[in-house]
Amino acid sequence: MLLAEELLGHARFLANLDPGTTTQANIRRAISAAYYAAFHLLAAEVAEQVSPDAPPGLRERTQRALGRMQMQKVAKAFSQVGATKVRDLPDDIILPQPVSRELALIGSRFKELQDERHAADYDVSKHFAPSDASAQVQKAEDFFRDWKIEKSSSNAPVFLASLMFGRHWNK
């Protein structure tokens, strides 16, 4: 099983614990795992697109080179349904089709999951309810479902390449 799928299963397991007895630690870990499931799903897809799988370890190293801030910016840029231009995409790269609902959901959910993950991991002043964990895990599950649809689209290679190279494109 892929790491991304394992993390998603782990997030769901934690989110499904009895709301009456679960703890802040379980809820926060569920939110965090939901984000990392989405992160590793995209990271693996990016690495597969930009790097061969030999020699061993090359693709994994590529995956490690991804930056979460860059990914967040790209996710935001692709989060509007119907957009024909996205921020920071060079003028000579034209989106083959307007941003689909699935891709916009992927962009929107990624930035949401990331921001919520940050709060879950670091903000001790915030109280999380069991429903917060369920909401984030469901977003991650939708994210996987939407990616399955979107990954064969003509926009997908542009999106994946942007996640890796976006900030270097306008040099």
Partner: protein, 177 residues
Amino acid sequence: MDGPNFDPVIGEEVRVQGQSGLYKIIGVDRAVVRFAMPGMPVITDGSNVVSLRREGRNTLDVIGGVPWTSLIYVDETRAVRRVIEWLKTNPDDLHYPENIVGYEIEARNDHAGNPSIFVRFLADTDYFYENGRTSQERIATLNKFTFEVEQILLGLGLDRWIYVRFGEVRRALDVAS
């Protein structure tokens, strides 16, 4: 159905393009359509202007005839708030869930330092749980709703990032108590 109402309202704090200082709106005038025929120019009486009182030491400092288009609203969440008030009227295809009992809007930076606006819709705690478990169906409904709202807010073209979420209303009460 009409779109959101972005008209100025008495009491709002504004700045004026090209002017220094902070003002409060004390009067609103609207242009009135006097004559409209298909294919002909619309003839109106009056214009969209406001009267303002300068905030601060001299409260008698009043200016009139300021065009709406030159106003810069101090409240950066204003447009978002207006859109949500409009959504509560269930416009077109978007259904405002009846279980939402309130909302909070906050302008602040997100975790990465991006200036953002956070919208949180609030529902009663009971709404989220069914037979001692979180209701996946209700959470799915709200997740879908927040995405639709985000899409509408993105259409405003604001300089801030938009985050739309939902949560349990009890949390707000906890904070208040």
